[in-house]
Structure formats: C-alpha cells, structure tokens
C-alpha cells in the first residue's frame, strides 16, 4: 500500500513537471512569434528585447538566434548580430539563411574574414564546417551498423558473393572511419577552441596583457576571434589570419 502511494506521488510530480515544461515551451513560442510580429512592424528594438528574454531563459534554438541576429542588425548592433548568428551557426551550420546573413555581415563589417582564393578549398571548407558533431556521430553510428550488418551477412555467403559483400563492408568501414575521425575532431574543437566576437566599435590589441605594451593592431565590431588564453581581465586572441594580440575581456563576447 505504501509502495503504491509512493509510485502515485512520483507519477504526479512527473506529470506536473511535464505540464510545466510544455506550458513554458508554448509561452516561449508565443513570445518568439510576438517578437517576429514587432520586427515586421519595424519595431526592431522591442523585437530584439523579446528575443533576448527568451535566450535568457536558456533556450538554444537556431531560429531564435537567427532572428535575434536579424533584429540586432536592424538596430545597428553589428557585434550582437554577428554573435547571435555565429551561435546559430554552431547549432545549425548548414542553414542557408544563417550562412547568407553571416556572409553579408562579413561584407559590411570593417574587419573582413580572410577567405581562401581556391574555390575548391573554399567549397570543401564550407562543407566541412557544415557538419555538426551530431551529424558526424550519426554518420559514424550508421556506417558502423552497416559495416557489422554486411560482415554478418558475409558469414553466410561464399565465393564471389562473399567478396562483393565484403567490398561493401569495406566502403562502410571507410565511411565509419572518416565520420569517426570527423566526430573526434569536432568534439575536440568544441572542447578546446573558444571563439568570440568583438562587441565594441574599436578594440585595441596589445602585445601583452596591459596597455603599457605595444599597440599592435585594432579590431572592430563584429570581428570573430579565437580565444587562446585568459589572464586577469585580458584575453589573448588569435585571428583566423594568424595574428594574435591581447584584448580587454569586456570588449568581446564568447560564442
């Protein structure tokens, strides 16, 4: 009797939590749609404020981040626009709209991202960037399952049939290896590489973590940098071009 009572209470609590979660999700969707309506009316500032409220509740949705990026751009906040769109790209790296807007922002911001002149290299680079860790994991898992399946099937075959099936298994094995290596690289990148966006109009970079050092270059709003390490209120950042310098931590926002 006591056990039944406990199970009932647990079930009730679980149902309440599920209902609350569903209600909050609907609430967020309503706010998201309202922000979209404000944007369409040209009230970009109010729209951005609502998007940021939803983001503040811990929602990480690529569409939400994309729309927030658009609203930030319309309010002339280039840094925020790049930040939100980069965060959106991290979640949906193959989304055409996100990539198009980032490309557009790159064309208008003061510090433009260097891009290889080799078309083939650019193509493969973009394709590689479009792969998410989840995508790589899925490919790896499916290729492994198919590899095991074809090997199992080959156990019951002989002669040329076995050879053919084993060749198929070899292809699945190669895909599995490639996907697994990609997954490992992506996971490693996620864990070790921290990117950030310059939020200030101008961010002077020094040769050391102090203004007494040599001012080596100046970054501008919207520039994406790689955070190498932090020391007190300073961060050592590296540009994709390879140049590195120390910036004040409050001038950047991590993606």
């Amino acid at each position: 009797m006591r056990g039944i009572l406990c199970a009932g209470i647990i079930l009730l609590v679980a149902a309440l939590l599920a209902a609350t979660a569903a209600f909050c999700a609907d609430d967020d969707a309503a706010a998201y749609n309202k922000a979209g309506a404000l944007y369409r009316e040209g009230r970009f500032g109010e729209s951005l404020s609502i998007y940021e409220d939803i983001l503040g509740r811990g929602i990480r949705n690529p569409d939400l981040l994309y729309n927030a990026g658009c609203a930030a751009f319309r309010t002339d906040d280039l840094g925020k626009a790049v930040l939100y769109l980069e965060r959106a790209r991290a979640l949906a790296p193959s989304d055409e709209d996100i990539l198009a807007n980032l490309s557009y922002l790159n064309s208008i911001k003061q510090d433009q991202e260097p891009e290889s002149g080799n078309t083939l290299l650019v193509f493969f680079s973009r394709q590689y960037r479009a792969i998410t860790p989840n995508g790589a994991a899925l490919w790896s898992g499916i290729a492994f399952a198919l590899l095991m399946g074809t090997l199992t099937f080959a156990l019951f075959l002989a002669g040329w049939r076995r050879i053919a099936v084993l060749a198929g298994a070899g292809i699945f094995g190669i895909i599995f290896l490639a996907a697994t290596i990609t997954l490992a690289e992506k996971v490693n990148h996620e864990r070790t590489v921290v990117e950030a966006v310059v939020m200030a109009d101008e961010a002077p970079a020094y040769s050391g973590p102090d203004t007494d050092n040599v001012h080596i270059f100046t970054l501008h709003e919207g520039t994406v940098v790689i955070v190498e390490r932090t020391q007190d209120d300073w961060v050592l950042v590296r540009l994709r071009s390879g140049a590195a310098g120390w910036l004040r931590n409050d001038l950047i926002e991590r993606i």
């Binding site: 969707a29 939803i54 990480r60 569409d63 658009c70 557009y104 989840n134 994991a137």
Partner: protein, 582 residues
C-alpha cells in the same frame, strides 16, 4: 361620318400650316467679333422657314459709331426649308464694346427678332489677326507692287530678342484690293539657325488701310532659335497673276526683306542642376496602369509632360529612385498641338518597371526643370508620387518576366526572419557521449559476435559427426526417456516401455562413443564400456538393466507398473553416472 372625317382632316392641315408659319426664324451672325478701328464687321441675318423668300428684308439696328452698308442677299434651300441671308457691313468709327447684329422682321402681323452679338473695337489692328504685332520693336518688312498699293506683302515677327529655344512667330501677310487671276504662290524664307513648325492657316478677312479696304491672307510659322546671337530670316516671296477679263494677264512677285533677330542665351543664375534645355511652360504628371502588381510582373508608368514650347527640347525628365525595380528604357511618344498659334503638346515616357520585392512601395515623383521665357525664371515641376502594392510573385525575377537577361543584383541586405513556431525548444542536445550513442555501436557489434560464434560452432559440428552425436546425445536421450515415461504412465505395454528404455540406453552410449547403430548388444556392451574406461560396477549395472528389460520384453508375464518405474529409475541413475564418465 365621311363628311366629319374630311372636315377633321382639313382642320388638321390648317393647324399644321399655322404651325409652319409660326416656325419662321430670324438669326444673326457677326464676324469677326473683334476688330480695329475702321475695320469691317460682317453681319449676316438669316431668315429661315417655308415663306422665308417672301418675308422681306429684316431691319438691322444701327448702333452709334458705326456706318452700316447693305451688301446683298442670297437664297438657299435645304431639306425643303428656305433660307434667305442678308449681308451688312458695319464699319466702326470709334473704339469700345458694342452689341451689333440685332434685327427685326415684321411678317403677317408678327414681329420676329434676332439677338445681337457683343463685339470689341480696338484702337489699333485686331490682336489675333494677320496684322497684329506683339511688341513695338517687332521686325517688319513690306513690299508693294509696282502699280501702287493695290497689292502688297508684309512679313514680321512677334519677338526680336527671344531666348534660345523660345518660340518666335513669323507672319507673312498678303493684302490686296484687286482681283487676282489664276494661281498664286508663297515661297517661305530661308530659316537657317531656327527649328521651324508650320502653324495652322490663318482665316482671311478685310482690313482698311489708309482709307482703302483690303482683303488679306496670312501664313504663320513658329520658329525656335537654336543658337544665340544674330539670326536672319530670309526673304519671303509671293507670286501672283494680275489681269482681267478684258486685259492681258501678267505675272508678278513681291518679296519681303530679310528680318534679323537677336537670340539671347539662357541665364546662368538659378539654373537647376538637372536642367536640360527645355524652354516653355510645362506641367508633369505620372500614372501607373495598376495599383497592385506581383513581384516579377511589370507595371507601366506613364509620365506625361504637357505644355507650350518646343517638346523636342524636353529631354530632361528626371526619374525617381527606382532601385526596387528592374527598369527598361522608356518608350517616348510626342503629340504636337499648335492651337492659338503657340506650339506645344504632350510628350510621354512609358516606363516598364518590374518590382523585385513584395510590399508597399512608392514611385516618384518624376521631375522636370525648364526655363519659363515669359517670367525669365527657371522652374521645376514634379509629378504626384504613385503608391504601389507588390504582392509575392509566382515566378522569380531571374527566370520569368520580361526578356531573358540574367538578373542583376541591385542591392544587398540580410535575409528575412525565420517563420513563426508552434513550440520553442532547445536543440542543443549532443548525440555523442549519450547511452543511446554507445548502444548504437554495441548492439551491432554484439550481434555480429553472437552470429560469428554460432556460425563457427555450427561449422565444427557439421565437420565432426562424432562430436555432433555426443553433443546431441543427451538431448536425444531426454526425448527417449520421456517416451518411456509416457508408456509407463499410460499403463501401456510393459514390453514397449522396456524397449524404449533399452533404446534410450544403447542409443546414448552409441552416440557418446560414436558407434554405429546395432553395434551394441546386451552381450557386448559391458566389454565396450570397459574399454572406454567405465567402471566395472557401472558397466555391470548397465548390462543387468538391459538384461532385465530384455527379459520383460520377451517373457509372457511382463511386468507391473512399479517394476517398470523401478527399472526406469535405475536407468536414470545409470545415465547420470555414464554422462559423467563418457
């Protein structure tokens, strides 16, 4: 009854005749309505109706300051109606406004009247007539025939110092007080430095000059100076024939002297940046052929410039910002009109625009800057903006629409918002590192390993018959023992039950030792078991059990159920021990 009908018809005809009498009309017409002092007004009084020809000459009212001459009458018949016209000449003796042409007619006791027409008599010549001049300095050239002033020609312009592009009207007038015979011809002057437009024919008339009444005819030409400085209008020539019924006909010609004018350049002060040489006075308006258009479809915007001046010089219509549209070169048409001897008309630009983005947009205003020669100032006129609603199109601007040119990107912007959501959740869940992710690898691997082991074992068994018999011996034994149990429990034949026990024992031993069926007999089994290391006691018990079973099978007494169960129990014990040994 017949008499009544005749009487009624007669009354009807009489009444109709009376009505016809009542329809006699009197009308007055005056030409021209404006003339100079001593110039003539022609007043025509027309009597119309069935008896007009017998109604007599109407009386015209003679206002003070006019000398009235009766000229004559004429009769015409039209649609069985008679029209009798009487012509009078009114020569004014003083200037002012008057009412002339009032007339009355007394006929059969009735007084029929016609209203007069207001006219104006000016001190000089008539302003719109052939002899008018707009300025005191207007160039004038006169040629007189050799026989005095019976015939003379005159050429003059209305402006001697026009601006470049401003209209100058050249008038060539022939005055004559004699009858001309045969054809006459006008040879226009050379007009180097002018752009010329022929003007409509001037209605001729009469004019009194120095006490003589002349018939006159005039030709007008609009001239637009194309360059600044002194420009010369060449000689105009009028060729004609003189003579009469009783005299010899002879040809003659009268030529005017050249006229020089000075064309002024347009002032630099106040000249708009977009001024492109238009001189005159214009208005501009723009209209679209639709208020709603789909993106990728076309809308035609017609921009019309209307006014007076040389429309060929109107080229500087400035379109508004049309960056939201794909545009094509406009089609330009021109319609000239020169009423009132002033050149003008309408020039139209048809713009074909293709909107690229849906939404509300505004076209315009189109603007035109011109020089107003009357005020001497530059003016800029604008059309009213056009509101246009662009709906989403079904075809992209790049693949459909007008022409087959590639789409040219005319602007760049960020892409639009993502659409609304029914629910909003995080998509930040990592697949790798989760339990399902590892299961995704483990399950196929485990399945493969299991199948591999199974297949390997099966292959070994297939190759080794003895091993296969030994592996399956216990399973077969269980089935055989089960059969013996059923026979016993069913109280079946004890011989059958004992045979089943014997088969179970011998088959099991044969399977374990891989011996051929039938190779084991009760007599040889003890020796065989001994050879394979079975203890003598167990081999002896086995032999005895088999012998007991054979005895029961082949004896006529058989065995009861308890005895059979004892034998089965003993057999199970033997088999358990044999399983450990073999």
């Amino acid at each position: 009854m017949t008499r009544f009908a005749v009487w009624a018809l007669t009354c009807l005809l009489v009444t109709a005749g009376a009505k016809a009498e009542a329809q006699l009309h009197l009308a007055s017409e005056v030409s021209p309505t404006r003339a100079g002092l001593h110039e003539r007004f022609t007043v025509t009084i027309t009597v119309s109706g069935q008896d007009a020809d017998g109604a007599g000459r109407p009386s015209v009212v003679e206002p003070d300051g006019f000398t009235v001459h009766y000229v004559g009458s004429s009769t015409s018949i039209f649609n069985n109606s008679v029209m009798q016209s009487y012509t009078f000449l009114f020569v004014p003796e003083r200037a002012g406004r008057f009412l002339i042409g009032e007339a009355t007619l007394d006929w059969r006791g009735q007084r029929i009247s016609a209203a007069g027409t207001p006219i104006e008599v000016t001190d000089g010549g008539s302003p719109g007539g052939a002899g008018s001049r707009s300025g005191p300095d207007a160039g004038r050239s006169t040629a007189v025939d050799a026989e005095g002033r019976d015939i003379f020609v005159e050429a003059f312009v209305d402006k001697e110092q026009p601006y470049v592009g401003e209209q100058v009207t050249l008038t060539f007038v022939v005055y004559n007080s004699r009858t001309l015979v045969g054809d006459s011809d006008y040879e226009p002057p050379s007009l180097t430095g002018f752009w010329s437009v022929p003007l409509p024919r001037v209605q001729g008339g009469t004019k009194t000059i120095d006490g003589r009444v002349y018939e006159y005819n005039a030709v007008k030409t609009a001239l637009f100076p194309t360059t600044t400085g002194e420009l010369t209008i060449g000689q105009g020539t009028f060729s004609f024939n003189l003579g009469g019924f009783f005299s010899r006909m002879r040809g003659a010609r009268l030529t005017t002297d050249p006229i020089t004018i000075r064309a002024r350049s347009l002032p630099a002060a106040g000249r708009p940046d977009d001024f492109d040489g238009a001189v005159g006075r214009y208005e501009i308006q723009a209209t679209a052929d639709r208020a709603t258009v789909a993106a990728g479809d076309v809308v035609t915007v017609e921009v019309s410039v209307t006014g007076t001046g040389n429309l060929d010089l109107v080229t500087g219509v400035v379109p508004p910002d049309l960056s939201n549209f794909r545009t094509y070169d406009p089609r330009v048409t021109k319609t000239l009109s020169n009423s009132g001897f002033t050149v003008g008309g309408v020039k139209t630009w048809e713009y074909v625009l293709m909107p690229s983005k849906p939404g509300k947009t505004v076209i315009g205003p189109f603007t035109l800057s011109f020089f107003d020669s009357e005020t001497g100032r530059y003016l800029t006129v604008s059309s009213t903006p056009i509101e246009l609603t662009v709906t989403p199109g079904t075809t992209s601007a790049g693949t459909g629409g007008v022409g087959s040119r590639n789409v040219e990107r005319i602007a760049a912007d960020i892409r639009y918002l993502k659409s609304d959501h029914d629910s909003m959740g995080s998509s930040h869940r990592r697949l790798y590192g989760s339990v399902p992710f590892y299961l995704f690898y483990l399950m196929p691997a485990a399945a493969f390993a299991g199948v591999f082991v199974f297949k390997r074992r099966r292959d070994i068994l297939e190759r080794d018959t003895g091993l296969k018999r030994r592996r399956t011996a216990w399973k077969h034994l269980q089935r055989a023992i089960g059969r013996a149990e059923r026979l016993i429990s069913d109280n079946g034949s004890s011989a059958e039950a004992c045979r089943a026990i014997v088969d179970a024992l011998t088959d099991y031993i044969g399977d374990c030792l891989n011996l051929a069926p039938g190779a084991l007999t009760t007599a040889s089994i003890e020796e065989t078991l001994g050879r394979h290391g079975v203890p003598e006691d167990l081999a002896g018990r086995t032999t005895r059990t088999l012998a007991m079973c054979d005895f029961i099978r082949f004896s006529s007494v058989g065995a009861d159920r308890s005895m059979q169960e004892n034998i089965l129990g003993e057999t199970r014990g033997i088999l358990r021990e044999l399983r450990e040994v073999l």
